[in-house]
Structure formats: structure tokens, C-alpha cells
């Protein structure tokens, strides 16, 4: 065996390990999300009532996975069969493909430290709507089609604030490689640019379709949205892909804004990086789950207005603020890392205050307009 082939084999083994990682993590996360949501709704969630589910029903998801393998794969009459089968494959493949560049720890715990890592993440994750459109359109089901329509306008639109706020870590660290972005975060970027972190978080919550933005698969109005017609493991693939996307969004947020794998003692024990990264990601993931359990669903016009009239202008304003304030500080001779971070934090807080002021002003004027239109109350 030549060296080249040995290299390929090494890469393949690494890739398999890395691809199994999100799958294994998700098996645990589905259980965790179900438990947290159950507590929010005053239930117990999965318990150890089943014989083989283990303590606290930890292995419930394994049991579900095995069960779902034995269910029939039904393809409805009139569906476009090829596209119908390809859609769940694409969903899972895209969800896993992002993990090629995610750094789980300092060098070595990453498949490849791509020099355009952040761009790769954006490019690959924007393939997910394709799978939704394929699923919704090929099912030849009206619910599925409505779900696909919504996925197009919502998930595609939220990419813009996501990219705009992603540019800020790129700008501050001067690199697109996720590893360098982490290494540049002596102060986590959430403390440097909290507005960007907020925009990125909301945009990625919408990208993965978490509850306030869960229109594409609104289960109480359009059954399951774009994957209404799927059964058995094909349904399971969508479910799995969606959870992996949630985990990926949390991990990416941790990498860009919470310092990734950085934490105490990582220099001595590199493997500890996985623990810190996963703890941070779990925190973000749980915020998503709490959203899921606590929020009502928005209407399509509200979702689109929130994106185009709030997140996009805010993302533009944040990008301008950070770029100008930082460059002005450097030009004025403030070059220390801590001083620059403090200046940017102050600018961000001011921007946040201004936005809050504008929001309360507009909502007050909207309320006044509406109360003006309301017919006067007639007392008998």
C-alpha cells in the first residue's frame, strides 16, 4: 500500500469518526430535549417504564430508532419517486457535511482546518432548503407544498442576517478559518459584539426552524409541512437531520461567539476541548429547546417582517458600527486587545439601546394608530 492510499484511508477513518459524532450526540440530545420540554409542560417525559430503556429512559431514542427501521416506507401515488427518495438523503448528508470544518479541540480534533471554514459552513447549510423544496414539491400533497413555499421564503431570507453577523467574528479575527477564529478569541466575541451574537442566534434559530419560526412544518396547521408524506425511516431521516441542524447551529454559535473549545486546562489536555465546546453548545441548544417549549408560532407575514424589517437593518447597522468604531479606535492609537474590546462593547450597547428606543417608539405609534381606528365604546 502506497503512502497516498494510506493517507486517504486515514482521512476516511477520521471522517467516519467525525460523522458519527453528531449522530451519537443527537441520540442523547433528543432524549434531553424531550425531558426538558416535558418539565416545561409539567410532565415527566420518557421515564424508565419500558424494560430496556435504561435508567431515566436514556436509551429511549435507540429503541425508537430500531422501531422506525422496521416501518414500511410508503411512497404516495403521484409522487415524483426519485426526488421523493433523494430529499431525506440530502437532508442528512447536508447536516453532517457541515461537520467537516468544526474544530472540536485544538489541532487534531478536526477533519480539516479549511482556510474558508466559516464560508464553507454558510455555503453547505444553505443547501438544506433544497431538500425541503424537493420533499415538499415531490410529495404532490397540498400541505407539503405549503410547507415548501414557506421554507423557501423564510429559511432563505434569514440567511442574510446570519451572513452579516457572521462577518463580525471574521472581521475581528481577520480569518475565515474556524480554528483561527477560536484562537483569536481572548475575549469571547459575545462580550465584544453582543448585538451581532443576538442577530446570529435569532437568524440561526430561524434557519433550523425552531419554534417561533417553525412555519415550514407547523404541525398544528399543515400536519408536518414539507415532510407530511414521509413514513418510516424517511421520516426519521428528516427528524434526525433537523436535530443535527439544531446541534450544528449551537456548536457554530459557540465557536463564533463563545470561544469554542477554549477553557481552563485545554493546553495540558487537548481532549478537554470537546467537553468545553459541548458544554457551551448544550447551553445554546437548551435555549433553543426552551424557545421551542415556551413560544407560540408566528404567522408568515410576521416572520418575514421580522427578518426584513428588523434583523437585516440591524445586521447592517451592527456591521457598520463595528467596522467604523474599531477602525476609528485603531487610527486614534488604541491598539490594546482589551481596550478595543471594551470600546466595541460600549458601541454595541449604545446601538442596542438605540434599537430598543426605536422599537418602543414604533410599537407605541402602531398601537396609537390601531386604537384610533377602533370604534369608540358606546356606554348604554
Amino acid at each position: 500500500m502506497t503512502d497516498a492510499w494510506r493517507g486517504v484511508l486515514n482521512v476516511l477513518l477520521g471522517a467516519f469518526a467525525m460523522a458519527i459524532f453528531p449522530l451519537a450526540a443527537v441520540i442523547f440530545l433528543i432524549w434531553e430535549a424531550r425531558k426538558v420540554m416535558a418539565r416545561m409542560q409539567d410532565r415527566l417525559g420518557p421515564t424508565n417504564a419500558g424494560t430496556y430503556a435504561g435508567p431515566f429512559a436514556l436509551f429511549q431514542t435507540f429503541a425508537d430508532a430500531i422501531k422506525i427501521l422496521t416501518k414500511e416506507l410508503i411512497i404516495p401515488t403521484g409522487a415524483d419517486r426519485g426526488v421523493f427518495v433523494m430529499a431525506p438523503v440530502l437532508m442528512v448528508a447536508v447536516a453532517i457535511a457541515v461537520w467537516a470544518v468544526i474544530p472540536l479541540g485544538p489541532t487534531g480534533l478536526q477533519v480539516v482546518d479549511l482556510d474558508i471554514g466559516a464560508f464553507y459552513v454558510v455555503a453547505i447549510s444553505s443547501l438544506a432548503p433544497f431538500s425541503m423544496i424537493m420533499a415538499g414539491w415531490s410529495s404532490r400533497n397540498k400541505y407539503a407544498e405549503v410547507g415548501a413555499f414557506r421554507a423557501v421564503s423564510q429559511i432563505v431570507g434569514y440567511e442574510i442576517p446570519q451572513v452579516l453577523s457572521l462577518l463580525i467574528p471574521v472581521m475581528l479575527s481577520g480569518s475565515l478559518s474556524l480554528q483561527s477564529i477560536i484562537r483569536a478569541q481572548n475575549v469571547p466575541y459575545i462580550l465584544v459584539a453582543p448585538v451581532a451574537a443576538l442577530v446570529f442566534f435569532l437568524a440561526s434559530a430561524a434557519e433550523v426552524g425552531r419554534l417561533p419560526f417553525e412555519l415550514a412544518e407547523a404541525d398544528s396547521e399543515i400536519v408536518a409541512g414539507f415532510f407530511t408524506e414521509y413514513s418510516g425511516m424517511m421520516f426519521g431521516a428528516f427528524y434526525l437531520g433537523e436535530f443535527i441542524n439544531n446541534l450544528t447551529a449551537s456548536v457554530i454559535f459557540s465557536v463564533l461567539f463563545l470561544g469554542g473549545w477554549r477553557g481552563p486546562w485545554v493546553d495540558q489536555v487537548p481532549l478537554l476541548g470537546i467537553v468545553w465546546l459541548m458544554l457551551k453548545a448544550l447551553l445554546v441548544f437548551n435555549v433553543l429547546v426552551l424557545f421551542w417549549a415556551a413560544m407560540p408560532r408566528l404567522r408568515i407575514d410576521q416572520v418575514l417582517a421580522f427578518n426584513w424589517k428588523f434583523l437585516v437593518p440591524l445586521g447592517l447597522a451592527e456591521l457598520l458600527t463595528v467596522a467604523l468604531v474599531d477602525k476609528a479606535m485603531v487610527t486614534a492609537g488604541v491598539t490594546g486587545g482589551i481596550e478595543r474590546a471594551a470600546g466595541l462593547l460600549a458601541a454595541n450597547l449604545l446601538l442596542g439601546l438605540a434599537v430598543a428606543g426605536v422599537l418602543s417608539q414604533t410599537s407605541r405609534s402602531t398601537r396609537q394608530r390601531q386604537s384610533f381606528r377602533r370604534p369608540p365604546v358606546v356606554h348604554p
Binding site: G7, A19, K71
Partner: protein, 118 residues
């Protein structure tokens, strides 16, 4: 040493494998008992009527156009953000003008009422 993009290519192959594998397993294990009633389209129990593959509502098209303009311009911002630390204040001001043009585009779309749901 393998080229990093070759590694990405191999990883893409692996991820497609992980997309196909569960479906292949399910195809092995699952029963295959097709019947026409089971394969009906599920629309809450009502028989489906009319054509499903209709045109998208024109509104989505407007949002798609706005998205396209912004996405292309956001792609232009990547190299600028990457080189930010080496740029002078003048270059940053130029980018600010570019962002201002983006903003004017947004205001135009807003004033044209493309962002209202009709």
C-alpha cells in the same frame, strides 16, 4: 499530505453514505406491502382534488429577488471583512458607502411595499 479540499470531498462522500445508510437499512428490514389505499395522499382524510403542482405565489418571487440582491452583495463583503485588519480608515469608509447603498436598496424595497404580505 492530502490537499484540504480533497479531504472535504472525501467527507462529502462519507456524509452522503450516512444519508443513504439508514434508508438502505430500513429498506432491508421494512415490510413491503403496497396497496392503493395506503398510498393515497394524506390530506387529513379528505380525498385530494384539483391540481397540486401550481405556480408559486408571486409574493415569494419578490422576496426571492430581494434575497438574491442581498446575498450577492453579502458575498462581496467576505473578502473585505477578511482583509479588515490591514485596511485603512479610508477603505473602511468606502465599504461603509457600499453598505449604505445596500441600505438604500432595503429602503427602496420597503417603500415599494414589497415587504408587505399581500
Amino acid at each position: 499530505m492530502i490537499h484540504p479540499y480533497a479531504v472535504v470531498g472525501l467527507f462529502l462522500l462519507v456524509s452522503v453514505f450516512f444519508g443513504i445508510a439508514p434508508l438502505a437499512l430500513a429498506w432491508l428490514f421494512s415490510p413491503k406491502k403496497a396497496n392503493p389505499r395506503k398510498q393515497q395522499v394524506y390530506e387529513s382524510g379528505n380525498p385530494t382534488f384539483g391540481e397540486t403542482w401550481i405556480e408559486f405565489k408571486a409574493q415569494y418571487y419578490l422576496f426571492g429577488l430581494a434575497f438574491l440582491a442581498f446575498d450577492v452583495e453579502a458575498a462581496f463583503l467576505f473578502p473585505w471583512a477578511l482583509a479588515y485588519n490591514q485596511l485603512t480608515l479610508y477603505a473602511v469608509l468606502e465599504a461603509a458607502i457600499f453598505l449604505g447603498i445596500l441600505g438604500i436598496g432595503l429602503i427602496y424595497v420597503w417603500r415599494k411595499r414589497w415587504l408587505e404580505w399581500m
